[in-house]
């Protein structure tokens, strides 16, 4: 704004700030950042632009009010939280943006421009993620006492299961169905270990679905609860438990098919 000084806080400017902070906050919550950080960062950006920010969040929507420091202007937004995949990169980058806004006195336009740049950075290569997840699950199998053959089977089973998950997610299938299907595919692949007569076959079967366990929402839920954001913490935990139940359903289909060789 050109006027400078106290007069620059017009109604239009305040409304623009509210729009930007609403978007910032919905992106962060959507990418799986825990609540107290999102609230703190939003207040920090608001403070840098000369407004107070109050936020209320729930699982699927967030409400915020921005108010001018001493001119009595208010503006409120209710935003939907978009279901982005979890991104620690956005978490780190957008947090750094809030500090940059605070320390370097960036203008609203500059912050907005930087924000768009940060959220349009390319994501990690899905094939690299597929490979890493399979390797991780194979190491997990080893930690639980599986031998080298069980590790190989877990590696392959995870690869097939994770590919199923990526493919179905890209097709925008309901995420509960994605979890049930991927758990079934991974565990049925791992159950070949039973047929091959490997000593630690049961460990391979048990670890094959663990790449699906929603570890991030589970830990975020407990963090939110310890931070006092109890309602959203419980929502996150319930959400994660629903996904775990889906994993269990997918896996129990396999267990029903092969249980005679397990006992």
């Amino acid at each position: 704004m050109s006027m400078g000084g106290e007069n620059r806080m017009t109604r239009e400017y305040l409304s623009e700030i509210a729009d930007f902070i609403a978007r910032y906050l919905s992106y962060m919550l959507g990418a799986g950042v825990h609540t107290s950080r999102v609230v703190r960062n939003s207040k920090r950006i608001g403070g840098a632009l000369g407004v107070d920010v109050s936020v209320h969040t729930s699982q699927k929507t967030a409400t915020l009010t921005v108010s001018g420091k001493d001119n009595g202007l208010h503006d409120t937004r209710v935003v939907d939280i978009p279901p982005f995949p979890i991104s620690f990169e956005w978490n780190a980058d957008l947090s750094a943006l809030s500090w940059a806004a605070h320390d370097e006195e960036m203008s609203l336009d500059a912050i907005r421009h930087k924000f768009d740049e940060l959220v349009s950075k390319p994501k990690m290569n899905p094939i690299f993620v597929l490979f890493m997840a399979s390797l991780a699950n194979a190491s997990f199998c080893r930690l639980f006492g599986g031998d080298i053959w069980a590790m190989l089977i877990t590696f392959t089973a995870t690869m097939v299961g994770f590919f199923t998950r990526q493919h179905l997610t890209r097709k925008k299938v309901n995420h509960y169905i994605v979890f049930i299907a991927s758990a079934f595919v991974a565990s049925i692949c791992a159950s070949t270990a039973l047929a091959l007569g490997i000593d630690t076959a049961e460990i391979a079967l048990a670890t094959s679905v663990l790449y699906l366990v929603p570890g991030v929402p589970l830990i975020n839920g407990v963090i939110d609860i310890t931070d006092g954001h109890i309602q959203i913490g419980i929502s996150r935990l319930v959400n994660a438990f629903m996904l775990i139940i889906c994993i269990a359903i997918g896996m129990s289909v396999t267990l029903m098919l092969v249980k005679d060789s397990l006992l």
Binding site: G32, E89, K114, A136
Partner: protein, 165 residues
Amino acid sequence: MIALDIISDGIFAAVAAMGFGAISDPPMRAFPYIAILAAAGHAARYCLMNFLGVDIVTASLVAAFIIGTGSVWCGRKVFCPMTVLYIPALLPMVPGTYAYKTVFSLIMFFQEISSPGKGAGYLQEMIYNGAVSFSVLFMLAVGATIPVFLLRERANSMTRGSRFL
């Protein structure tokens, strides 16, 4: 031989943490620190459980505290919030086998529902495994969060002045 066991435990935990972390799209610069934290935490838990006879819940709490404290120090180096480092590092300690056994016993309970003796056995196993999984998970998150409460100022300004923006 003992040293070899501890080191291999740490290495496999590091690989698991990086791989499971990769699913959640962390910044590339965070990977080495995620690996170090996961290896230190998991190896510490391995030692506590196998050599000092500590139970899995307390051992997880201590390991998570080590990871949380480490992430205060590492976070500043790569300008990442603590959660970006410690959540992936905790993932290999999420009690997967206990969770699996909880579900498995539940399914077996349904299968044996008509024979009360066997069914009750499975139900008992389900509660046992469920209690362990929930407590370990809770302690992991709490242990890693304690340093945030102790060092609030420092913990909340990890990304200040980031070189990577």
